[in-house]
């Protein structure tokens, strides 16, 4: 059995150098990361009777920016919630920097989260706080720094996302793209080791989208953080991430580098990258026979 410490050094990853993915997964590459920062091992999860993830295994190396892609409701965000410890797997294990997340007590979980930043889909800014106070929030909660120093740090974070001039605005006064950038500044306030991005490009215009993508790449390189980005914006993501995992029906169905994804012949990957309406992912939700539902009996197929 692998011990936590051993796993954190990547030893366990080498011992278990067998197939990383579930049996149904299509491996576009086969490399074993010696220094896994995040590892999911045969993770299954269900909301009530609705199964979301079914034996998912993946490994993300320290310092890498990985994208998790898949259709709506495929379990992408649940993966992030498992990594951040917001939910626990029904079976399997989630390791973050050598720690089994499900086994952490509240203090341990909060200690792990202090080293983590998360960008929510619509920013999740605190609406009763100004931009400056939003970014200062984690600093005020977790550091005993004097107000003057917190102010300077906040201005530096806002400068990094180009919104130093908006420090005094309230969240209601920001556009969607600006709110996302403020949320990004807040997420990096404590210089995290791990960044989680939940659909960072949703609902943005092309300029804001490009800005956020470039910022994510630049900040991640500057922080040297490991990052997981849940998205279904294929083309923008492929320009900024190091590796891509495709999720469908609760499983990892394909993975690889952006170049491998671009040139893949895998039907699922092609459908996703080319935006084809039908393919391995069906357009139609399962339903009873169309003709019989219309009351046409056996006259039409």
């Amino acid at each position: 059995m692998c011990k936590k410490a051993a796993l954190s050094r990547g030893v366990c990853a080498q011992v278990r150098a067998g197939p990383v993915f579930s049996a149904t997964a299509t491996r576009l590459t086969h490399t074993v990361e010696p220094d896994a920062f995040i590892e999911l091992d045969k993770v299954s999860f269900a909301y009530g009777s609705r199964r979301i993830l079914d034996g998912v295994s993946l490994r993300i190396a320290r310092g890498k920016l990985a994208a998790i892609m898949g259709g709506s409701g495929s379990g992408k965000t649940t993966l992030l919630r498992l990594i951040s410890g917001q939910v626990k797997p029904d079976s399997g294990r989630v390791w973050v920097d050598g720690q089994d997340v499900a086994k952490l007590n509240t203090a341990g979980l909060y200690a792990m989260r202090r080293r983590m930043g998360m960008l929510f889909q619509f920013g999740a800014l605190f609406t009763d706080l100004s931009v400056q106070d939003n970014v200062a929030f984690p600093l005020r909660e977790h550091t005993g720094l004097p107000d003057t120093m917190i102010r300077d740090l906040v201005l530096m974070k806002l400068q990094a996302v180009g919104l130093r001039g908006a420090a005094g605005l309230m969240p209601a006064e920001l556009s969607g793209g600006m709110a996302r950038r403020v949320a990004l500044a807040r997420a990096i306030a404590l210089d995290p080791d791990l960044m989680l991005y939940d659909e960072p490009f949703t609902g943005l215009d092309p300029i804001a989208l490009g800005t956020i993508a470039a910022l994510i790449k630049r900040l991640n390189d500057a922080l040297g953080a490991t990052a997981v980005m849940v998205t279904h914006d294929v083309h923008v993501s492929l320009n900024v991430v190091d590796e891509v995992y495709f999720v469908a029906d609760g499983k990892i169905v394909a993975s690889g580098t952006p170049d491998q994804v671009r040139h893949s012949a895998d039907p699922f990957v092609r459908q996703f990258v080319d935006g084809q309406p039908d393919g391995p992912v069906r357009l139609h939700y399962p339903a009873e026979d169309y003709a019989s539902q219309l009351g046409l009996g056996g006259r039409h197929g």
Binding site: S84, Q86, L109, Y110, A111, R113, R114, M116, M118, F120, Q121, F122, A124, L125, F126, T127, F137, P138, E141, H142, L196
Partner: protein, 262 residues
């Protein structure tokens, strides 16, 4: 047919009952979590002060105006009844006892539930719907300690003060009608009141009532907000539940407390 429909009715009733028991269990666990995490909130008392401003201070206008009118109505109704028995001089005592024992704590709590309880539920519910509570938890900040407990304690601390203000305004309303408009003797009004009102039985018990009502309304408000479905409809339903459940709880608790106190 009849058997089947009565069985379905029985099953539906049982289902509702089981759900209610489950919810009560959740409320108890939630209350325990609030108490457990209150230390951190009370150590950062400015958080509670801020919520006292929103829940308590901003409720002052409705409390002051309502208290005044309730007192004026008591003055009118009390006088028209007492005068038939030649006891109009006891108007001061009637107004004060009605307000201190019952109307002050109960009406102030009902107004507090409508104004502040619903606002607290809507605020927490919207924070949940817009992932602000999740964001807080992911930033290693406990939402119960940071968001829920300060609002709960603000409600508990505000309620007795609001009830006291309601009582004072009600007594002024009764005085205005009885003495200024009807022309009862000023000295008799106050001396009758002074003789009839007992510090412990009437005033302290009334304040204890309002403290209990404050805790009940605040707990219901924060729980419904925290438990709301993260949708517009979910927040709306939770807000309605806060007002309805609070009103029924206040009235039920009032009966129980009155039975023990007086």
């Amino acid at each position: 047919m009849a058997d089947s429909s009565s069985r379905n009715l029985f099953a539906a009733f049982g289902h509702r009952l089981i759900e209610a028991v489950w919810k009560l269990g959740f409320v108890c666990r939630f209350f325990a979590a609030i108490l457990r995490d209150s230390g951190a909130s009370l150590r950062r008392f400015p958080l509670v002060i801020r919520e006292i401003y929103f829940a308590g201070v901003l409720s002052m206008i409705i409390i002051v105006v309502s208290g005044m009118f309730v007192g004026m109505v008591l003055g009118l109704q009390g006088y028209s009844t007492l005068v038939r028995f030649g006891s109009a001089d006891a108007l001061g005592a009637l107004v004060a006892l009605s307000l201190l024992r019952e109307l002050g704590p109960v009406l102030a709590a009902l107004l507090f539930a409508s104004r502040s309880g619903s606002a607290i539920t809507a605020e927490i519910g919207l924070m949940k719907a817009t992932e602000q509570l999740d964001a807080m938890a992911v930033m290693a900040v406990n939402p119960i300690a940071r968001v829920v407990a300060p609002r709960f304690w603000a409600g508990v601390l505000s309620m007795p003060v609001l009830a006291a203000i309601f009582n004072v305004m009600g007594i002024f309303g009764g005085y205005f009608v009885g003495v200024t408009l009807i022309g009862l003797d000023h000295g008799t009004f106050w001396s009758q009141m002074q003789n009839a009102v007992d510090w412990h039985t009437d005033i302290v018990n009334g304040l204890i009532k309002s403290l209990v009502f404050g805790a009940a309304v605040s707990l219901i408000a924060v729980f419904e907000g925290f438990d709301a479905k993260p949708t517009a409809e979910g927040v709306s339903s939770a807000t309605t539940r806060t007002v309805v459940t609070s009103a029924l709880t206040i009235l039920a608790l009032d009966f129980v407390l009155t039975a023990f106190m007086f």
